[in-house]
Amino acid sequence: MPDGPGLELLRGEIDADLAGVVLDTSYAKERAVLIVDPARVRDVLTWLRDTPGQGYRFLSSLHAADYLPAQPRFAVHYELLNRDRVERLRVKALLADPGEDALPEIDSCVELFPTAEFQEREAYDFFGIVFKGHPDLTRILLPEDYVGWPQRRDFPVGGEPVTFTYNERNYG
């Protein structure tokens, strides 16, 4: 894991090549996080993967999060791993909620990391985050005709009402 100063050095290097793409950094609980411009997340991931001396070539995990009521509300986390230096780095892209029925959008990174295919579909399935350029962005775990984005924080935890015949007969 890059430590606090290491993270700032990394930010400086990225800024030299891709000015203004890193919006913020955070270093907490021994975890280094780069918060980047969601419109250019592919550039950052490409840079981290291909720049000599960086080599974050393994995408461990991709997850989405909903920070409601904070704004911007959604985030996509890329847990990158440098297997040579045994370092983890999280790249975080914050996405605003476009409101109403519109869905937040971000570029897909499947071409860079083929492993993201299922994971981006999962994020789409549960959070309704659209990954532009994904080869087959469909629901993966939920049924195809499901309506709603259940992992969002404003989606209630609840079940479907089960009608028992006993209740129906006696109290229905």
């Binding site: 907490a28 609980k29 021994e30 975890r31 070539r57 393994f58 995408l59 461990s60 995990s61 997850h63 999060a65 909903d66 920070y67 986390h77 847990e79 297997r83 045994v86 983890r88 999280r90 990391f113 083929p114 492993t115 993201a116 295919e117 299922f118 994971q119 999962e122 549960f126 629901r139 993966i140 775990l141 939920l142 049924p143 259940p150 992992q151 924080r153 989606f155 935890v157």
Partner: protein
């Protein structure tokens, strides 16, 4: 006449599953076949999706543990460790050395257990029915050990945030040590049954090969990656639990075919048995759970004498503890690869998001590469060697 004698090929799309004994769970495969050769393949998942991650958002932290155990129902200790470890890192709670060793013992026993289930069912798919009985005989001994320590054979809820719920009982050590000594002998017997079995060799050697580079691109980890010759194991790479203090090897394969996958897992069982024996030898004395009353239940005996303890107990059981806002991704080496847990805390007593990076889910993406251009029969062998647990895939 010429068109009559020309071989006719047509592509047939076959649906396999979701209820099929060879898919090791409710996995559905849509396979394009040309004769007996697989042209294309698409796994369809989600049949046992139960919304565990969403349910976790509605439970206080300590109540999440039994939920996450039920994701990957063969390696439940690993799910517990991933979640408890992530929460411990969020609240910056150090667990005592004895707890680290106890957790390591149970994780490694669980790794053997998981590999035994894999070996038994996969060998069954390949026609070696007796393997199932032998593997499940040893598995039962591991379940006996779990029952002895935790009171449950499966889904033990043994790990807690801060350590483990109870110390191991008297007699556990001897029984566990006997098992760790016996296991390598049993593994030798399995190898005797399979290693020179012509049918098994024909079915596994040279089938389902995927290159190391492609596996890395696809994010595959664990025994599948090691079978292709990449010595990557989180137990060695990262410092967690008692692993830095233990002496064990990482078995790797060379070709990356189904036979190597079998060899790697079988060798891992022996290494895990060695780890268990070493942990028992080096098991430190002392508390088995952290002494932090903000997060850890007070001992039962104090409740009748100490008002303070009673208050702590009441608070922990009713509301649970609050965790300051933050997010942590913690990953461990499960029997299937990198098992990661992301916990997002929003300051309340319930997690705002619990997300698992399940190795079966990610590894399943490599299945198309393993099966295409091979026979249907090899596809079944590859699926067994991939070892997906659909409870973990679908969550």
């Amino acid at each position: 006449m010429a068109e009559l004698t020309e071989p006719r090929t047509e592509v047939m799309t076959v649906n396999i599953g979701p209820h099929h004994p060879a898919t090791h769970g409710v996995l559905r495969l849509i396979v394009d076949l040309e004769g007996e050769v697989v042209q294309d393949l698409k796994p369809v998942i989600g049949y046992v999706h139960t919304g565990i991650e969403k349910s976790c958002e509605d439970k206080s932290y300590w109540k999440v543990i039994p939920f996450v155990e039920r994701m990957d129902y063969v390696s439940y200790f690993f799910q517990m460790e991933a979640f408890c470890g992530a929460v411990e890192r969020l609240i910056e709670l150090e667990i005592p050395p004895r707890a680290k060793y106890l957790r390591t013992i149970f994780l490694e026993l669980n790794r053997i257990h998981s590999h035994l289930v894999w070996l038994g069912t996969t060998a069954l798919d390949l026609g070696a029915i007796s393997m199932l009985w032998y593997c499940f005989r040893e598995r039962d001994k591991i379940l006996d050990l779990f029952e002895m320590a935790a009171g449950q054979r499966m889904h033990t809820r043994y790990f807690q945030v801060g350590g483990v719920i109870e110390d191991i009982p008297l007699g556990f050590e001897a029984k566990c040590r006997a098992f760790a000594e016996e296991m390598p002998i049993r593994v030798g017997q399995y190898e005797d049954l399979l290693d020179r079995n012509e049918v098994f060799l024909q079915r596994t050697k040279g089938t389902g090969i995927v290159s190391r580079e492609r596996l890395l691109e696809l994010g595959v980890s664990g025994p599948l990656l090691r079978a292709a010759g990449e010595p990557w194991d989180l137990r060695k790479a990262f410092d967690y639990l008692a692993y830095p203090e233990l002496d064990f090897k990482i078995p790797v394969g060379t070709v990356g075919d189904n036979y190597d996958r079998y060899r790697v897992r079988v060798a891992e069982m022996v290494e895990s048995a060695r780890i268990v024996a070493q942990c028992l030898d080096a098991l430190p004395e002392g508390p088995f759970i952290a002494d932090d009353r903000k997060y850890v239940l007070p001992p039962r005996s104090e409740l009748s004498t100490s008002m303070e303890s009673l208050i702590h107990h009441f608070k922990l059981v009713t509301e649970g503890y609050r965790v300051d806002p933050g997010e942590v991704y913690y990953s461990i080496e499960s029997p299937r690869g990198e098992l990661g847990c992301m916990v997002l805390a929003d300051g309340s007593a319930k997690p705002a998001r619990v997300h698992f990076r399940d190795p079966s889910f990610v590894n399943l993406q490599a299945f198309r590469d393993m099966a295409v251009d091979g026979y249907v029969a090899d596809m079944i062998a590859s699926l067994g060697m991939l070892d997906p647990i659909l409870g973990g895939v679908d969550r």
